[in-house]
Symmetry: C2
Subunit: 350 residues, 2 copies
């Protein structure tokens, strides 16, 4: 298969982990006789620094022209604490999601047996936990009208949803549940929010088309509790943009390390793959960033194109590195294996 991959390393540790993914993808290409080509482009704080814009037109063109996008991370503290910054790195990512219509964000979360003791949660709570979060990604309060009064004393953000926006991701979530454990949990705040009540209505109706799938509901505050009390109850979680942001980051600690969590953002034609950890600027250039989340995102990329066997090889190699303790210090304190060592182990194993 020929795949034309746009590579957006982004900020902080983004470039170092993305580099390992490329090595691994190349190893797969060689082994399975595929042809992967890469085009690098700027995005995020680095794009602002070099071009003034977080998502330059050239980057967008490269993405539009690609089969898939491999993304690193975004964000720089110099923009976070400046409420007056006009341009922010995150705008680039939001604009890209919107421009490519990547409305479904998919985040698998799994407790690895070899890492049970790394989790802040007790082993009996997490052992066997295995869920996937479907987060709506191109609407809601992230993309609603924003307002700041001229004198700077009043601000607002609007959260809006349409039936259409809810329904397309809902079908994805139910299809995923059919291939997993036939359960969808809708996370919302229907006792307070009008948008949540629309979600409940639309999702309940669509559920009837998937009779084998059980649907249940959780208020987001309760979900934040249940995620810790009993994460094994979840199979597919379906939720709106902002709740998905919060709940999926919370869920990320279950696996023992956020350095292992991959994600896919898909739409009707394009798809983007990224580790869920952020740019982690404190770690930049130190060789301590865990490349596995990015590498597993590459596996999701291959899955997306039906290359399941290839994807499984990457997953197997990644688990092997964990089993053998060829890990960055987030997994094994004082480990001397670097980002590159881990990437190369996985590359060679393949």
């Amino acid at each position: 298969m020929k795949l034309n991959i746009a590579v957006l390393p982004g900020d902080g540790i983004g470039p170092e982990v993305t580099n390992q993914s490329i090595k691994v993808l190349n190893a797969i290409a060689e082994k399975f006789n595929h042809q992967f080509t890469y085009k690098h482009a700027l995005m995020g704080a680095i794009a602002i620094d070099e071009t003034g814009e977080p998502l330059p037109q050239k980057t967008l063109d490269i993405c539009l022209d690609s089969d898939a996008i491999l993304f690193g991370a975004i964000g720089d503290p110099k923009y976070d604490n400046n409420p007056n910054a006009k341009v922010r790195p995150e705008q680039g990512l939001l604009a890209l999601r919107k421009a490519l219509n990547l409305y479904t964000n998919i985040r698998p979360v799994k407790a690895y047996d070899a890492l049970l003791d790394k989790s802040p949660l007790k082993e009996q709570i997490i052992k066997g936990a295995d869920m996937v979060i479907y987060r709506e990604l191109t609407s809601g309060i992230y993309f609603g009208k924003k307002y700041l009064s001229e004198d700077g004393t009043k601000a607002s953000d609007d959260c809006a949803y349409t039936e259409e926006e809810i329904s397309r991701i809902t079908h994805e979530a139910f299809k995923a549940a059919e291939k997993r454990n036939n359960k969808v949990t809708l996370v919302d705040k229907a006792n307070v929010l009008e948008t949540s009540r629309l979600w409940r209505k639309v999702v309940s109706n669509i559920a009837k088309e998937y009779p084998s799938v059980e649907l249940d509901f959780l208020f987001v505050d309760n979900a934040a509790m249940q995620m810790i009390l009993n994460p094994k109850q979840f199979d597919v979680i379906l939720t709106e943009n902002m709740f998905g942001d919060i709940i999926s980051d919370e869920a990320s600690v279950i696996g023992g390390s956020i350095g292992l969590l991959a994600s896919a953002s898909t739409g009707n034609d394009k798809a983007l793959f990224e580790p869920i950890h952020g740019s982690y600027p404190q770690a930049k250039g130190k060789g301590i960033a865990n490349p596995i989340a990015s590498i597993l995102s590459s596996a999701m990329l291959l899955d997306h194109f039906g290359l399941t066997e290839e994807a499984d090889v990457i997953r197997e190699a990644s688990e092997k590195s964990i089993e053998l303790g060829i890990c960055t210090p987030d997994l094994i304190p004082n480990s001397t294996y670097t980002t590159t060592n881990v990437g190369e182990f996985i590359e060679e194993y393949i």
Copy 2:
């Protein structure tokens, strides 16, 4: 001291736990020679069932006429799963918060040594955790304009904040930090939301008036992670309404049981005290509801009127009941102590 207390038992387990609080308050009144009088009023699903309204005018009048309000819990599943319900129990609570201008919700969270093994989190993660969450309670997306299109296919909720709304609770949070460990963490999503950027600006300015207090910032997604990874890092958390709802419920698992967590909602003149657990309808009438959260809310009520010694006696008695294992089954599986047994133990201990 004379205190005129409005009692709103509400739904589910609300009445049973509130009854224990009243016993305990009476024991305090006797011991310390105070005069507490109570007026009961309807609120929530039970008020809808009996009067058609979740917050009847008569209830509001009793509250306005009182020195403080002791509240139970609200909510009934028969309203949750009906997206067409015109009146909801929760509206009563929201309307009451608004009518009494209870803009500051205070939720202390503490890991009790005797209960460390009850938590889903590992002992080394939670031992010593002790924080208080300041959640803005009368604005934000809960109270913003709501919209549902006539054909029912579009909905929206507006999240708005003013400088004034942010600044009044911010002062409360910083004053609390001065009496605790001098640290305030603002939880927001300033990389995406305009309202969050206003929070950051206002809070940063106010921080200058409290030079002994250190201020730091966390994005809400990261906060949801940090709450589990390292809850000991928090002293005072300050945040807007919706984020506070989610983060404080998440934090509630740290203590090992949500059945222990009290809260106060305060404004310029009125104050309301309630356990943070909900109505837990499945447990209603079974005698298994833990009354301690409600009893500790009564202690916060006494604190509010400067009756610190009295409040400390309640806290001591409650801790004693935990230490001695005179607990409901949420704390000790198969315990045969009922809600009333625990309430009476604390009453007699006093």
